[in-house]
Symmetry: C2
């Protein structure tokens, strides 16, 4: 087999065989095929597509380039939740302790934030002392102990994906449904969980800006999961505004604690509860949504979910004293606020721009080596559809220095629209996509 | 400007600006953009196309990456002929001395053969002593002296093309009309001739297998030449069988001498004369084809064309004694023949396969560093449409060793079809494409 022939085959819109895909990816991972051939292949795949078989074979080869983690018997049922990334998306942190309270273990390998979306690892690391990088043995042992395992990706998970993703990022081949599918699943399938629930974000703050594209990704993910016989469902949820009021890192820990104490804010609750319910359904639960939601509410009221979260922080080395009153520990170096420029209803948020403003404040990174300010972030006072008066505070900014705050303020001033007409707030749960 | 953004723009089918194309190609030539980004761009351009403007800008940037050669006043009119490559294509060698006889100077930068098509440089080098690599000063001086300048490409002509072509060859991005156009023209335009005639080969031995594709290339070449205000025409000529009887290097020198003495074979004459006539027309000649053909015939009969060729060989350092009776100097190390397997009319040649058989015999190279056997090649006894009897010789093989001869024989045995029905031989001149 010769790489140029396989590139030409995909270029001409033909279907590659399992062996051909294996050859390309394995040779590349072993540095036997140069970057420039794989980038040409990726562009051909981007433009001509890969069908479900090809995506399956690509996923399989990338998955088998690394190790898998099998969980001990007594840690089942264990589920994984994957979000395609959003602004203010702290659902991994709210969902896992809640589900642990009602008998479902959660295991995830999480990533850092890059660009306008946040990363669970960065949020966890904003808690002093917390080390989110666990060994395989720690993942198993800690899951057994506190029912939650959220860890940074270990080095030996899907190394082929790491290499290919870095190349895609530099060659305009990121936004391809089959390539995204293979990248996500090569890592997700490495955790041998009982099933995966995908939270596919749709809207101005998400990678998938349209419902149509989100549906295509959902079908692609479910198609390949099916070939691996891994139970899975996709929930399409709204990202036309940030989730919750807080965007950032420690700021989102504040909101996580708030939620685990009060069940608020409402949008975080809606998404967390529904994802939890879908996990239960994947596991065979048939007693209906209302009953399940009641159980989740009890776990909040009894503070058991909060206890689970604190146990998880403690086992990760984090300082839980700081979490008893996290708001008082929130000490940003610089700050500011932005007021509404007119009176009316909030009709639009450019959520990606809000994410980027948060990044400018120090809460995110443009390059993987950038340092994060754990205290930086934004507080959004009003949800979409809410009434606001001219001069009323719309955003609070927390940052590292005045210059960055000023820059973020300018960005935020362009990030919203207020209309005279009443505007209905969007539904948080858009739709469920099952096989 | 960032390379990934420009790649994504072409990926999404948008038109790049002159500055964007300049940025990509200049940065790449200066090693400021890595191979893997340009290969992704080339694949996007391959699949989404480049329009005439973009192709013009690409050509322009590649052309300006190197030097141009301006000819002295007294060497005009000077024309360039470019063939897209075929099997047995010796027209550069027959056309230039003939046109020199009737007052048209010919200057070309030629290439080596690669794959199944031969290269003029290799053919010239099969003449002992001949050095086809001329300096710029030699090109000018020798053109003045003997009206013919055929030289290997000097190092400083379109270095960007050299770099990009090498990458295209390895990334399945060769067969793209706009990329081919830019590659050809970035070199052709570097010779500041009065015009260019393109001989676009069509058929089983050509890169363009169909008339449709050849027409597209013709229109693309003429469109970009027009933007440079360089007069040009394209002649589509048949390559469904080798040109002439001989394929190889010294074997084609034999046939060139034969033609310059006798005006045969007929197909070489048809293509040579017509290309010559089109050059004259480009130069304003209006006296009609018949009159011009008569002048060319006179130049053959008077042996003036032959004398011009020998002068050109001599000025290049070649041994012209060997050319007084070249057939007697043709001494291949090994040989063989293949006879027809049935009686009938020759209905098909797989001309590319014949080219490959010639390569196996030692007349060509698969890799640029391969050595050529100047005496190797093939003699094809019968043209398409001719009657042949079972057992009659169809191919004579000249090679370096028996094993290669046996391998080439097997290839040639699959390279033709004989039918019972009478088969009309194809017309050599398919069509003329003008602006």
């Amino acid at each position: 087999m010769l790489a140029p022939d396989l590139i030409a085959k995909k270029r001409d819109g033909e279907k590659l065989s399992r062996d051909e895909i294996k050859f390309l990816i394995e040779s590349y991972t072993a540095n036997k095929i140069p970057d420039y051939q794989i980038s040409a292949f990726l562009m051909a795949a981007f433009l001509n597509g890969l069908d479900t078989d090809e995506t399956f074979w690509l996923t399989e080869t990338m998955l088998h380039s690394g190790k898998s983690i099998k969980f001990p018997k007594n840690t089942h049922p264990v589920y994984d939740k994957h979000s395609t990334g959003g602004v203010g998306d702290k659902i991994s942190l709210t969902l896992s302790p809640l589900m642990a309270s009602v008998g479902y273990n959660i295991a995830m390998l999480s990533g850092r934030g890059l660009g306008h979306t946040g990363g669970t690892l960065d949020k966890l690391e904003s808690i002093p002392g917390l080390n989110p990088f666990w060994t395989e043995a720690q993942i198993k042992k800690r899951l057994e102990k506190c029912r939650i395992a959220i860890s940074g990706q270990t080095r030996n998970i899907a190394p082929a994906d790491k290499k290919i993703y870095a190349l895609r990022d530099l060659t305009g081949t990121v936004e391809s449904i089959p390539l995204i599918t293979a990248s996500i699943l090569s890592k997700k399938l490495a955790l041998e969980t009982d099933g995966i629930i995908f939270d596919i974000k749709v809207g101005s703050g998400a990678f998938m800006k349209t419902k149509n594209n989100a549906r295509r990704l959902a079908r692609s993910l479910l198609g390949v999961c099916g070939k691996f016989k891994r139970p899975a469902v996709c929930l399409l949820t709204d990202m036309s505004e940030p989730l919750g009021h807080y965007v950032g890192n420690f700021t989102e820990i504040i909101e996580t604690i708030d939620f685990l104490k009060t069940g608020e804010p409402e949008d975080v609750k809606a998404v967390t509860f529904r994802l939890g319910y879908e996990i239960a359904r994947l596991n065979g639960y048939t007693d209906g949504k209302k009953r399940f939601y009641d159980r989740l509410s009890e776990a909040l009221d009894s503070r058991e979910a909060l206890k689970n979260f604190l146990d998880f922080v403690k086992i990760s080395g984090g300082d839980i004293k700081m979490l008893s009153d996290p708001k008082s520990c929130h000490k940003p170096k610089a700050g500011g606020k932005l007021t509404a420029d007119k009176t009316g209803y909030i009709a639009f948020y450019d959520t990606e721009l809000i994410g980027k403003a948060s990044l400018v404040l120090g809460a995110g990174r443009l390059k993987i080596e950038d340092k994060i300010d754990p205290m930086a972030g934004i507080y959004i006072c009003k949800e979409l559809g809410r009434k606001i008066k001219k001069g009323e505070t719309l955003f609070k900014l927390f940052g590292s220095n005045r210059k960055a705050v000023a820059e973020a303020k300018t960005m935020l001033s362009r990030s919203y629209k207020i209309t005279k007409e009443r505007f209905a707030s969007p539904r948080k749960i858009i739709t469920l996509v099952e096989k």
